[in-house]
Symmetry: C2
Subunit: 454 residues, 2 copies
């Protein structure tokens, strides 16, 4: 993402074991500090709403006839929601065709990202592919290489699930010391959809994958022809060494070739007509405009696996194939994009996620991490999916430091930035999942801050 500022040669002849990095963040105990600071908001919430004292005027819309059906055969948002759009950062990349746009998380509720607001990441721009001529080839270490039309793929058993996709560069600007005063830009490289398609396992059966295959890669039909290696059981790195992540053996089981997203066909920005979905892993593995899957016995170590998507470590070496999105969370209200409007009853809301399964718990602090209280997780809590949390908050109108901290089902606890830097220094771009702090001012403004020693 920050490619114009930073050179990133792969200097590692041996990978740093990210399991060691990860281990220190495993939650030793589920105990949560007492939450005296966050008073449970009273039922009734006297401060939201006002007593009716006089008759209400009839609104003008009660006196007119509106638009008929199919005035908009494919509907769009209200004109009053025109501010709810994807945005990019103009200085971030030299050109928009190798760039990123951000989902407006501050305006979203629940766990679904509307398809029109899914974040974008291109290495060569979005293309329009005719599904009637598009083909998927599955080949390499297989008994019978095969070619499929989109209609062929739709004849396979269907697999559907709710999964997030997150760019590993989500939060990258924070890593590099650029504190964007906006939730859209600090965390907006994540979206969540119901993805529908064909299980990779079924395609593997159809072509007869040979035992020697320990990796596969997808390749896109766009100008970038993005290629990313995905491990199969027994995968080793290009030096014959085990992969750092203990559960890379499990990743492929969930993989699908997706042709639909939130009900309808994929959008062009999301790889229409088909893309890989590699749930729980950095989104660049979920290759868009998918034209082939090749089974191989080692990782590709291509441009995108060296120039990008490696993690610079304090000792000058680089972690590679750190594929899984570690647990992360953020408060979506309040946030810099959504001010408070006077003291009284509110609900703190946020999103939590982990590439390793389900969110187990989210703690919230309003005093900069001195005390924490466990938030409520709203149903549904799906694996590798955004999870919505809420906590009532009676705001006294004074300055507050609002934070969230997720624990996932493996026991991993979201680290502070200091903890993350102790492990990984400050040369990194990717996989920034540390606790975010929002400072609420008495006037209701909210700002992105970094608390010293946290």
């Amino acid at each position: 993402m920050s490619e114009k500022n930073i050179t990133m040669p792969v200097s590692a002849d041996e990978q740093v074991n990210s399991n060691q990095t990860r281990r220190s963040f495993l939650r030793k105990s589920v105990a949560v500090a007492g939450g005296a600071v966050i008073a449970a908001a009273a039922a009734g919430r006297a401060s939201a709403g006002a007593q009716v004292t006089e008759p209400l005027a009839i609104p003008p819309t009660n006196k007119i006839l509106g638009r008929g059906v199919v005035s908009v055969p494919y509907g769009l948002p209200s004109k009053y929601e025109a501010h709810v759009v994807r945005r990019n950062v103009e200085w971030l990349t030299p050109d928009t065709i190798a760039s990123i746009s951000f989902t407006p998380l501050q305006d979203l509720e629940g766990i679904i990202t509307p398809n029109g607001l899914h974040f974008e990441r291109y290495h060569g721009g979005a293309v329009d592919i005719d599904p009637s001529t598009h083909r998927l080839v599955v080949h390499g270490l297989v008994d019978k290489p095969m070619i499929f039309t989109i209609e062929d793929l739709k004849r396979f058993p269907q697999k559907a699930a709710f999964w997030f996709l997150e760019c590993p560069a989500n939060g990258a600007m924070e890593w590099r010391g650029v504190q964007m005063d906006s939730l859209q830009f600090t965390h907006g490289m994540i979206s969540c959809s119901e993805w529908i398609g064909v299980s990779l396992l079924d395609l593997m059966k159809a072509v007869g994958v040979k035992k020697e295959a320990t990796w596969f890669y997808g390749e896109g039909a766009d100008g970038a022809a993005l290629q990313r290696s995905v491990p199969l059981p027994g995968a080793k790195d290009q030096f014959g060494k085990p992969l750092p992540e203990f559960d890379t053996n499990e990743i492929y089981k969930d993989v699908i070739v997706a042709y639909a997203q939130n009900g309808e066909a994929l959008r062009p920005e999301n790889g229409y007509p088909i893309r890989l979905i590699v749930p729980g892993c950095e989104a660049n593995l979920s290759v868009k405009y998918l034209r082939r899957i090749k089974f191989v016995d080692k990782p590709l170590v291509t441009y995108q696996e060296t120039r990008h998507y490696t993690d610079g470590m304090p000792d000058g070496r680089f972690r590679q194939y750190t594929l899984v999105n570690e647990a992360n969370s953020v408060v979506t209200f309040p946030c810099p994009d959504k001010k408070m409007s006077g003291k009284g009853s509110y609900e703190i809301r946020g999103l939590a996620w982990t590439g390793r399964g389900k969110v187990k718990a989210v703690d919230v602090s309003v005093d900069g991490g001195k005390t924490w209280k466990e938030a409520k997780l709203l149903d549904p809590v799906f694996s590798k999916c955004l999870t919505r949390f809420t906590l009532p908050w009676e705001w006294d109108g004074k300055e507050a430091l609002v934070m969230s901290r997720v624990t996932d089902e493996t026991g991993y606890v979201q680290p502070t930035l200091r903890q993350l830097r102790e492990q990984r220094g400050s040369n990194s771009i990717y996989h920034k999942n540390s606790i975010q702090t929002w400072k609420v001012l008495p006037n209701g403004e909210v700002h992105n801050v970094q608390i010293e020693n946290l």
Copy 2:
């Protein structure tokens, strides 16, 4: 829906007990007839896809650079999906502002309906309401009538769930003998979303609803000013008699005032900025453009509760306040809008739903109901939500009669049209939930048929 053809005076001085109607459809046994006719499709599915025999040409899209990020700040479907839109039936209503459009179920996968494809039903057209001036009043039999801004409502605890909305007229044309040869028109008055808002229970606490309140109604801020009564515990009809439905006491517990749908703000077609959602009940109870909720001690018996939304019975009387959408299902592939392309391996797919809770099982027949086989229910199976079912099918290329039959968690089994007519005659418009049959021809065409005596 068919308002231009049919007059519907309320002639009932006593309602027909719809519980009696319903009882005969309760499933006596969960046993399913053996499914010899439907062979389990072989893993590998040799007929989908072809072996690769020559090198594949590089697609032209690999050789160009595409569109950059935020070329479309709010994204839209591919130009190749322009046929996937809501449609209306021009002869059905005299004007489109009191009419309906249909969701293209034939093109949708999974359980989510994209907001742009949610079916529309207006009595006075869709209006654009400025959320900054819109207010919700909650009054009537309450201790403290209150008025809320949209921002006020967002400060209450948030409730979110995946629920379908179905117009009770879904299938109405079939009732009246018009066999539309299209899934979009036979069943497209249903959509499904994640709805997010404020629980009615919280609003009831805020205003202090009095014990005497046994009903409430919502009213819209549009030209139709739609009003619909919703029962609270102890509700009786306008003659002081108990309501026919045993579980009307439970309906209000799930009700929300929704401000978001599938992540973003409601669409204008769906009541922006706020609407009621009354899960499991005919969608007209979920009043759009909601401007007030009034607590009362009897039903309103308004125009929309007499002129529309009553069920003509064989004895000339009318059922009223039959609010719950009974269990229903339909095969979405194959269907008249989606032909078969030669014999071989397929997956029969469909949707099932019930206003009374969860779908328990779906049986599928390919021989016109002689034999049935239990389909697989795809996760998630939520209460009052669309449920996706699938069944592998090895099509021999011969004529087939494809049907689905749902059983819900109360044991209710979806009836045949004959069974429905035995109970309810042929004067009805609403609540047509009988088994749908698609006839597959050897050439792959699929047609809407009614099998004699079924």
